[in-house]
Symmetry: C2
Subunit: 162 residues, 2 copies
């Protein structure tokens, strides 16, 4: 168990040439964390880096269902992300595809395992890319800092719910 004062941070590392492995602990039970990933009203409150507003256009939360989020920045600029849920096993595992409107056809997969640690939950994510340059391009585009911010927003949402 981490100290209450500890700020959690996602551990991000490259695995092979086309994959990332990410681990992050959250201070809430697994059911609560899982719900924050699946409830459209909750997703809209934490998804995306600070300064962006996320509109959940679609979340068909089942294996084979589609999702689409529109992200609005402070200048009113909009961009959209979408994908398909490849696998949904509540409250243990969600795998989805991820595609940004700006690069159609560049599809990554996130396989997320929710590990029950009692009062905490560890999410282990495998992010899979088709080519090394897709993975490295995502990192170069600031994916990691965006994710860290988004997860901090999720920490804040979970604290409010506690």
């Amino acid at each position: 168990m981490s100290d209450q004062q500890t700020r959690h941070k996602a551990d991000v590392r490259k695995e092979g040439d086309r994959e990332l492995r990410i681990e992050r602990v959250f201070d809430a039970p697994r059911d609560v964390v899982f719900k924050a990933f699946t409830d459209p009203e909750l997703i809209a409150q934490w998804w995306g880096p600070r300064g962006t507003e996320t509109v959940v256009d679609e979340v068909d939360f089942r294996t084979g269902g589609d999702w689409r989020f529109v992200s609005r920045d402070s200048d009113g600029g909009e961009t959209a992300f979408r994908g398909t849920f490849r696998e949904v096993v509540a409250p243990e595992r969600i795998a989805w595809t991820f595609e940004w409107d700006g690069m159609p056809g560049y599809v990554s997969v996130d396989i997320n395992e929710f590990e029950d640690l009692g009062d905490q939950t560890r999410i282990r994510t495998r992010s899979l890319f088709h080519l090394p340059e897709e993975r490295d391009g995502m990192l170069d585009a600031g994916m990691e800092s965006g994710m860290q911010e988004s997860y901090e927003r999720l920490d804040e949402l979970l604290a409010k719910q506690a």
Copy 2:
């Protein structure tokens, strides 16, 4: 140059744990072969194994455009395939994503290079998968024999056009 009697066959080999490399020669100039991959009326005449009928529902042939084919077997059963053109550089290269309706979210990428051999054309394809089991599952499902039949049908179409 191959003998007129030679029957071409695609060479299919595994590369690493998530990729296939395919090479196939066709007895027609590059412009002609490239057109057979891009013209909906021609695609419908060779795409898919023997005994199936392909209806080209959509071919938005440009970078970022979508495609969707419906395949009908002799019993009238239908299944659909779809994807996005990631890159279109006529007459040299086409890269598309490939997804079968039966397994939504399992997206592979084919990067096809059309090599000009004068009266012949060589297509080199990299097929990229997110996980080893996706590649091996595609092979187990008979992807190679289906592709060989489809390419034989393309040989026949090209011979008719000559």
